[in-house]
Amino acid sequence: MTLARNGVSIRTERLNKAFGPVQAIRNLDLEVLSGNRFGFLGPNGAGKTTTVRILSGLLRQTSGYAEVCGIDVSRDRDSIKAITGLLPETPGLYSKLSAVEFLEFIGALNGQSDEKLHRRIDSLLGVLGLEGRQDDLLESYSSGMKQKVLVASTLLHNPKLVFLDEPTSRLDPSASAVVKDLILVLSEETDTTFFICTHMTGFAEDVCDVIGILNQGGVVARGSPQEIVDSAGAGDLEDAYLRIVGGKVDREALLAWR
C-alpha cells in the first residue's frame, strides 16, 4: 500500500455539497498532509460532519473533487473505507453486545476474525481502561465508556487515516487525556493521519498541529494553532475562534432578557 502520495493525505478542490436549498459546504479547498493531526473547528451546523462523511465515502458531493490517500472519493469508496476509520458524532453501539463482542463485530465487518484480532481487542481495551468490564453488555456503560469503545473500534483495523467527530465531548478529563495521548503517540510513531472535528478549543490546541476553522461552508482560517492565535491577535485559540467566527455579546445584552 503506497498511500499518502506526495505525503498528502486529504485533498479537496472546490468541494460543494447542497442538501436541497441548504448549501452545507461551499467551494471547500482543503489539504491535510499525512501524519498531520488536523483539527476542524466551526459552529454547530457549519458543515464539519458533512465534510467527514464525504471524505470517508459515505456521502456523495454535489460537485468538486476530493481524494483521500490518493484515491478519488467518488471512484473507489471501498478502498478508502479499508484504510480509514470513522468515529461518528453520537455513539451508535449495540446495546445488547459486550465490548469484546462489539469489537469482534467491527473486526469481522472489516474482514478480520483471527487470533490476532482478539489479541488486539484485549490490549486495546486494556489501554483504554476497560479491562474488567469488557464482558458486560454495552447498555450498562456510561456515555464516556461507550465513547472509549468506539475509539477502540475506529483504531482496530490499523487505519492510515482516522476521522474523529467530537471524540471527547462525553469523556471525563482522565479519559480524554488517554485519547489525546493515544492520538499523539499514533501519529508520531506510525504516521497515522487524524482528522478531528471538535468544539473544544483546548483539546484542539493540545492535540492538533494544523487547525482549520470552518464557517458558513468555507474555511476561513488555516494554520498551526500558534499561527492562528497570533494572526488573530488573541490570547488563546478560543479567543482567536471567537474573533474569527464572532460570538462576543456584551453584558448589557446578556441581562436584557429579564
Binding site: L58, E101, I106, A108, L109, S113
Partner: protein, 568 residues
C-alpha cells in the same frame, strides 16, 4: 372527578402541552382543525355511522330477521363489543406509551415543582382528546345495530352514550395509572426500553387470545361455564348496563316475559350493573392519587442498574463458529447474540409461535362448528398462507439498527452493508427453524400426523418463513426505522412486508382468477390435467412459496444495495 384540591393549574399546563404534542401535525391551524375534527366525528357518530351500518346490515338481511337474531345474541354480543372497546382503551394506550419512556419529562415536571397528582391528572386529560375521538368514531359502528334493532329513542341513546362515556373515561384513567407505574418501574434506559417494547407485544397477545377465544369458543364456553363466568369481569358491568338501557327504553314493545328472559341471562339488574360500573370507575381515582407520590420518583440511572456480564459462547454458537470460520461466521454469531438478547425480539418470536400454534386449533374448531369432517391434508395450504405473517413479524421494522450512527459505522467498513446483511439473513434463517417447527409439533400432537405429512408441513412452512424473513429484512433495510415504532418508516415497512408476503403467496390464485374470468383459461384445471395433482394445492404450496423466495431474494438484493449506497 378529580377533586377540588388539584386546582393549582399545573395539570392544565401539562394537558395543554400534551394536546400541543398531539396536534403538532396541524399546529398552524390547531383550533380550527380540532373543531373541524370533532364536528366531523359528531356528524359521523350521530348521522352517518348509524345510517351506513344499518344500511349495510339491511342489504345482508332484512331488519325483521336480524332483529330476532340480534335479540337472541344480544347480551353476549354486547359483552363482546364492550370487551373490545375496553381492551382497546386499556391496552392500546399502555402498549403505545410503553414504546417511549418519558422519565426525562418527569424530571422536568418535578424540577419545576409540579405535584405528582397533577402529573397524573395532566397526562390523563392530555390523552382524552385523542382517545375520545377514537371512541366517538368506533362506538357508533358497534352500538348502532342494537340501537336500530331495539328502536331505542333519543333519550335512551343518550343514556347509552353517557354510560359508554363514563366507561371510557374511567378506563383511560386506569390505563394512564398503570402506564405510569410500568414506566416508573422500567426506568429510562436502553434495557428499560427494550423490556417495554417486549411487554407491549405480550400485551397485544393478551388482547388477541381472549378475542380469538370469544370468537371461536363462545358456544363451548357458555355451555361449560354459563354466562356467569363473565360476571366478575369489569367490562361486563358497563356492557350489561348498556343492554339494560336498550331493553328498558326499547321501542319495539318487548313483553314482560322477554325481559325476564334477558334478566335470567344477565343475572345482575340495571341498578346493580350501574352501581358496579360506577364503583369500579371511581375506585381507581383515590387509589391512583394516593399512589402518585410513589410512582413519580426518579430512580437510579441506567448505569446503577444491574449489570449483565456475558459468559462463554453456548454450544450452538460454538457449533456455528466451527462450521463457519472466518468473518462471516463471526458476524453471524454476533448478529445472533444481538438478536437473542433483545427481549423485544424474543417476545416477537414468542408472539409468532403462539399465533402459529393457535392457527391449527382454529382450523379444527371451525370445521367442527360447521359440522365438516376435518381433513388433515387441507392444513398444508392454510398453514402456508398464514405462516407468512409469522415470518414477517419478528424481522420487520424494529430490532434492526438502533441508530443512524450504527449505520454509519457499518457503512464505513468496506462492503460493510452487504456483509452485515448476509449475517442478518443467516440469523433469520436460523430463527425460522423454531418459527416453523412450533406449529408443526403442535399439529403432530393434536392431529397425530403421519411423519411424511409432518415433514412436508415443516419444509413448506420453513420455506415460506424464510421467504417472509427475506422480504421483511429487505424492506427494513430499504427504510430503517431506528427503533422508533411511531415513525412512518416503521408503519410502512410493516405494512409493505405483510402485504407483499401475502399477495405473493396468494398471487397465483388471483392470477388464476383473472385468467379464468377474463380469458376463460382455467389454470388450475390445466395443472390438474398435466401434473395430476390438485391445482389449488399445487398453487398454494408450490407456486406461491417459490415465488415468495424469488420476491424475497429481490427484496434482499434491493435492501443490501440501499443500505450500502452512498448517500446523496
Amino acid at each position: 372527578m378529580l377533586g377540588g384540591e388539584v386546582m393549582t393549574g399545573s395539570w392544565y399546563h401539562i394537558a395543554k402541552a400534551e394536546f400541543y404534542v398531539m396536534t403538532s401535525g396541524f399546529r398552524k391551524h390547531r383550533a380550527i382543525g380540532t373543531v373541524l375534527l370533532y364536528t366531523l366525528a359528531t356528524v359521523w357518530a350521530s348521522y352517518l355511522a348509524p345510517m351506513i351500518i344499518v344500511g349495510i346490515l339491511e342489504i345482508i338481511m332484512p331488519m325483521d330477521v336480524m332483529r330476532t337474531l340480534l335479540m337472541v345474541m344480544f347480551p353476549g354480543l354486547m359483552r363482546t363489543v364492550i370487551l373490545f372497546l375496553w381492551a382497546l382503551l386499556l391496552l392500546y394506550p399502555l402498549s403505545y406509551s410503553l414504546q417511549e419512556i418519558k422519565i426525562g419529562q418527569w424530571e422536568i415536571y418535578l424540577s419545576n415543582d409540579v405535584k405528582t397528582k397533577d402529573i397524573l391528572a395532566g397526562t390523563f386529560l392530555g390523552k382524552m382528546p385523542l382517545y375520545g375521538l377514537i371512541v366517538i368514531l368506533v362506538a357508533p359502528v358497534l352500538i348502532s345495530p342494537f340501537m336500530a334493532a331495539f328502536e331505542v329513542p333519543l333519550l335512551g341513546q343518550m343514556l347509552v352514550y353517557a354510560s359508554l362515556a363514563f366507561m371510557v373515561i374511567s378506563t383511560l384513567w386506569l390505563a394512564n395509572f398503570l402506564t405510569s407505574i410500568i414506566q416508573a418501574r422500567l426506568g429510562d434506559s436502553s434495557r428499560g426500553n427494550d423490556i417495554a417494547k417486549a411487554l407491549s407485544f405480550v400485551i397485544a397477545l393478551v388482547v388477541i387470545i381472549p378475542m380469538y377465544g370469544l370468537m371461536f369458543f363462545m358456544p363451548q364456553l357458555s355451555e361449560l361455564l354459563g354466562m356467569d363466568a363473565f360476571l366478575i369481569m369489569p367490562f361486563t358491568w358497563p356492557a350489561d348496563l348498556v343492554s339494560w338501557i336498550a331493553i328498558t327504553f326499547n321501542g319495539i314493545g318487548l313483553t314482560g316475559g322477554q325481559i325476564i328472559g334477558f334478566a335470567s341471562i344477565l343475572k345482575f339488574d340495571i341498578i346493580q350493573s350501574a352501581i358496579l360500573t360506577v364503583t369500579f370507575g371511581f375506585l381507581w381515582v383515590p387509589i391512583a392519587i394516593a399512589a402518585a407520590d410513589r410512582i413519580f420518583t426518579i430512580g437510579a440511572g441506567a448505569r446503577t442498574e444491574s449489570v449483565t456480564t456475558v459468559g462463554r459462547d453456548n454450544i450452538i454458537l460454538r457449533g456455528i463458529r466451527r462450521v463457519a470460520k472466518g468473518p462471516f461466521g463471526a458476524l453471524t454469531i454476533v448478529s445472533l447474540k444481538d438478536f437473542g438478547r433483545k427481549a423485544q425480539n424474543l417476545s416477537k418470536i414468542f408472539y409468532g409461535v403462539v399465533l402459529a400454534i393457535i392457527l391449527p386449533i382454529i382450523i379444527r374448531q371451525m370445521s367442527i362448528i360447521e359440522g365438516e369432517i376435518f381433513v388433515v391434508d387441507e392444513i398444508l395450504p392454510m398453514i402456508s398462507i398464514m405462516i407468512g405473517i409469522v415470518g414477517v413479524f419478528p424481522f420487520a421494522g424494529t430490532g434492526f439498527l438502533e441508530s443512524k450512527d450504527q449505520l454509519w459505522i457499518i457503512r464505513s467498513a468496506p462492503k460493510g452493508a452487504s456483509r452485515f446483511m448476509r449475517a442478518r439473513l443467516a440469523t433469520g434463517f436460523l430463527m425460522a427453524v423454531p418459527l416453523s417447527g412450533a406449529p408443526t409439533i403442535a399439529m403432530i400432537i393434536m392431529f397425530a400426523l403421519p411423519p411424511l405429512l409432518a415433514a412436508q408441513i415443516f419444509i413448506s412452512a420453513y420455506i415460506v418463513v424464510c421467504g417472509a424473513v427475506m422480504i421483511a429484512m429487505g424492506a427494513t433495510a430499504q427504510n430503517p426505522d431506528y427503533e422508533d415504532t411511531k415513525s412512518p418508516a416503521h408503519q410502512t415497512v410493516l405494512m409493505t412486508s405483510m402485504l407483499l408476503t401475502e399477495f405473493t403467496l396468494l398471487g397465483p390464485l388471483f392470477l388464476d382468477l383473472f385468467l379464468t374470468l377474463g380469458l376463460g383459461i382455467d389454470v388450475l384445471a390445466v395443472i390438474e390435467s398435466v401434473l395430476h395433482v390438485d391445482g389449488l394445492w399445487f398453487m398454494i404450496t408450490i407456486v406461491g412459496p417459490s415465488t415468495l423466495l424469488f420476491v424475497g431474494l429481490a427484496m434482499m438484493t434491493l435492501g443490501i444495495r440501499s443500505l450500502g449506497k452512498v448517500e446523496v
